[in-house]
């Protein structure tokens, strides 16, 4: 598909920001997203081609305004839910549970 990800030859993006020279994970969530993605592939939950296709189907505005690992996180959610590894309900419930735990600790 001629998705937003198919950006070779597109114009108007401006200069390359050489200051963005970092290669390390900038936060724990990036490292976890990376590792969980690799392990999900290894477990056969989805294949790499499905993963790339998923990212291509991000809404274009979101794709351009989020970071590389956010694209990976998007595709993890998309594929693991659509393939029934867990349900949207389970996922939202777990997020709420973890958020509540965080609030408890902060309180």
């Amino acid at each position: 598909m001629r998705s937003i990800a198919d950006m070779g030859g597109m114009q108007g993006f401006g200069p390359v920001n050489r200051a963005h020279d970092d290669t390390r994970f900038k936060a724990e969530w990036e490292a976890k997203t990376f590792a969980v993605n690799i392990l999900s592939l290894a477990a056969g939950c989805f294949n790499i081609d499905e993963s790339r296709y998923s990212m291509e189907r991000m809404p274009p505005g979101e794709y351009l305004n989020t970071s590389y690992y956010e694209h990976w996180l998007y595709s993890l959610e998309d594929l693991l839910i659509s393939k029934g590894v867990f349900s949207q309900e389970e996922y939202q419930a777990r997020i709420a549970e973890l958020a509540a735990k965080e609030d408890d600790h902060a309180a």
Binding site: W29, K32, L80, V85, I95, E102
Partner: protein, 202 residues
């Protein structure tokens, strides 16, 4: 807003991936210890020093260089380099006539086994979009100026073939050890957006 900015606070992203991770562990899909192992490998073990060592060996050992250019995958296996996102490697030799540079316009594929994880600029829209259509302008932004009559070859990593550039050996390094040579090889020189350090730098 830069391409790299988050739209959500990091804590929300952290909650999302933690939710996924815990569900996957509970469902027996991933081993939590494996998460730590993978992060350790990619954060601490893989990186451009591996590629630099290969370049230095190619500069020092002409027979190895021939093998490297003929079959990158097998030559790298000789020196213990192999694996994820490096299963099929092609090494691109820079010459006075040809300058090579790599990209993945579609998604940011990169030769992890020899260079580790890519820098953020490599994954950015400006790089992915512009390097194929105006490589000289992009290279100039990196301080690399290509002569008008020299050919620039852009390799777009759209399949599972991965590339690494073998830069030209700097002048005045005759007789240098592989270790000394490797110190001149920058990560960008193996992507093609840079050239090695000059001999006088060391």
């Amino acid at each position: 807003m830069s391409h790299d900015d988050h739209t959500m606070p990091p804590s929300t992203l952290a909650l999302r991936i933690k939710a996924i991770e815990t569900l996957m562990v509970e469902k027996g899909k991933i081993d939590p210890g494996a998460v730590t192992e993978i992060v350790d490998i990619f954060q601490n073990k893989l990186g451009p020093r591996i590629g630099a060592g290969v370049v230095a060996r190619a500069w020092s050992d002409p027979a190895f260089k021939v093998r490297l250019l003929e079959n990158g995958t097998d030559a790298l296996k000789e020196v213990g380099v192999s694996g994820l996102q490096g299963e099929a490697m092609i090494i691109l030799e820079n010459t006075p006539e040809v300058h090579n540079v790599i990209v993945c316009t579609l998604c940011s594929c990169y030769p992890w086994t020899v260079l580790g994880l890519p820098p953020t600029w490599y994954k950015s829209a400006p790089y992915r979009s512009r390097i194929v259509i105006e490589p000289r302008a992009v290279l100039a932004e990196f301080g690399v100026n290509i002569a008008d009559d020299r050919e620039v070859r852009v390799y777009d990593s759209n399949a599972e073939i991965r590339y690494m550039v073998l830069p030209e050996r700097p002048a005045g390094t005759e007789g240098w050890s592989e270790e000394e040579l490797a110190a001149l090889v920058t990560r960008d020189s193996m992507i093609g957006t840079g050239i090695p350090l000059a001999a006088s730098t060391i």
